[in-house]
Subunit: 201 residues, 4 copies
Amino acid sequence: MNHHSVRGGDKRARILESALKVFASKGFYAAKVADVAAEAGVADGTIYLYFKSKDDLLISLFEEQMQQVNSQLTTALVGAISATDKLQRFFKAYLGMVETHRHATEIITIELRQSAKFMKDYANPRFAEFLKLLAGIIDEGQASGTFVSGTPPTVLARAIFGLLDELALMWVTTKGDKIDIRKAADWVGRLVLEGLERRSA
Amino acid sequence: MNHHSVRGGDKRARILESALKVFASKGFYAAKVADVAAEAGVADGTIYLYFKSKDDLLISLFEEQMQQVNSQLTTALVGAISATDKLQRFFKAYLGMVETHRHATEIITIELRQSAKFMKDYANPRFAEFLKLLAGIIDEGQASGTFVSGTPPTVLARAIFGLLDELALMWVTTKGDKIDIRKAADWVGRLVLEGLERRSA
Amino acid sequence: MNHHSVRGGDKRARILESALKVFASKGFYAAKVADVAAEAGVADGTIYLYFKSKDDLLISLFEEQMQQVNSQLTTALVGAISATDKLQRFFKAYLGMVETHRHATEIITIELRQSAKFMKDYANPRFAEFLKLLAGIIDEGQASGTFVSGTPPTVLARAIFGLLDELALMWVTTKGDKIDIRKAADWVGRLVLEGLERRSA
Amino acid sequence: MNHHSVRGGDKRARILESALKVFASKGFYAAKVADVAAEAGVADGTIYLYFKSKDDLLISLFEEQMQQVNSQLTTALVGAISATDKLQRFFKAYLGMVETHRHATEIITIELRQSAKFMKDYANPRFAEFLKLLAGIIDEGQASGTFVSGTPPTVLARAIFGLLDELALMWVTTKGDKIDIRKAADWVGRLVLEGLERRSA
DNA sequence: CATGAATGAGACTTCATTCAT
DNA sequence: CATGAATGAAGTCTCATTCAT
């Protein structure tokens, strides 16, 4: 009988999973380390055997989650040829994850922002990766002439992330009847790819 | 002659202004009430003559700032005729404010999100107003046939807010050479109104 | 029109009256000076024109109330001849006052005790007077042979005060159907004068 | 071997003991939680591992002390046959405890009263038990014809408690030469059982 | 490795008291 | 005399972190 495996997963992973749930439901500041420990079924002190501090726990959570997000997005793009196709798949995959990874979405959309303030030095490399992936698609589209040039891909990537992120936030925080987040991918696709204005002819 | 005026502005306004500065630079949670008091040049207890609690201070700040934002946006739209024109002015005005109201932007972009978590019951009516203003423009454009129909205006409004908000956040948090936030209004205008794809003919 | 008389009474008296009401209903520690001021319809600062401190307000209240109690008791004894008669009148008068001066009773029964602790040096001369009055009756009874000797009158006086005081407290704190406080005077009279044991013959 | 025992007594008991001492000497309101912690030799925060709040500490103190008082009184009555005997033993035991449990006496005589005010809902069940014990003796005496009937036992019990309580308070607060509290039991016994008046024959 | 009782720095908030008007 | 806004000392309580077991 292995002490370290309880309900199929090593302790570090279980703590991370619990932190995800607790931070998402109470917010990072309101959540207590003891809450995370209780959720994970370990002693308070045990947290500190795997993470340097409460902040470190949050950062590790980002790392893990964003890595998953990036990996799934990358997978989703496999086989796509045109930039247009890639972008549509990107939207669909991202907003699809919102539904399947509720808690992760809350952490990313809400706490990621605070991080800019409270973790002055944390560079957030995974988010950078995310943006790079998105900017790469746009760059490719602009280079191939499929997309209009003139706006820096990094800015567009950021704008598009904000757009997706806000829809995710809306979906996550709405109590009653939510929008269909999967339909939203199409709406966003139309908005971004075709624009709002009716084409003249 | 106002008994309560001390160097241009009553005390409540001064405290609010100081809270804006302090919360923006340290984040709401890291900021101490004593910091705000010191910045405002009043005693700690004085804060509580004007605000019920630290939370109330943050909420009041939102109210005030969002009200200003809404009022400036409304002003900016005066005289605009088409929905397209209104939307462009909206972008220009919003991103213009980012530059002139740096601190307010930080509060709105960063702390507004947390509010969803920590202030369960705070409805944030000013933000609702903001969205209504934006959705109104889109609705008008769709009704007149200028804008493509099919996507709910409320969803589009939210998406566009996210987009603007993210650019504002990017601008605010970038240390070195920032993008030209005023140019960004045009970029965003093009993205939203015309879309990314090159028009076929 | 006299500024100092509002609703028939000078300001000092009004403050004292308000303090009585407020202290009685919330307790001295829970009561705020501002509460007393509000009740009296004066500004907070005004309290300090008449009393040195919150403590002084409580002490002054004791003085005033005990003086009234003593004066009424003294009046009640006028015309009584025997010690027995005096004691019965004393009981009747004391417990009668409990009903007519509810708030004063609460202050005396409850806060008087605390005073022993929090006002190390306050001698409480009025309470001393009260005890002297009661001890005087007992002493007189013992001297005349009406009362049994052997127990120091000061001790008996104190014991009897405790007895009356506790009944007063019971009456004051009971919410539902209270005992008839006036009947209690007779009960106490019987207990003290005749004792519990049935007389043999 | 008990992990939690530190020099004879678990931490909760030590804190309670320290609270007894500190509250008795400074009064509940004047006493700081830090004082209790220092007296107990623990950190301030440790108090809150065992008690919900400062109020809870006081209530727990009451519970514990009154329970001890009740238990000792019950023990003292074992073997007594007549109501008269029981009452005399009750007096002796109660006033004896005053001397041996000085601090507890101060808490009970002084702070118990305040509790009526500041703890609106705290029912104080131990004190109710105490009164029931006393009223039981009186009821028994009345039923057997040993004691005079006519006065409700609950009222008499309360009156007698007040009497004992006041003597205890007198003894506790007197600085110089105190009365002999053990003699007082006889004095009280005489007063209550035989009354003040000299028996006619 | 794991525990969880203990720590203690520090935050928010209250409120008696002052003093300029 | 009266006001009441302002003060700021001080208290209760929280909670991330440690360390002896």
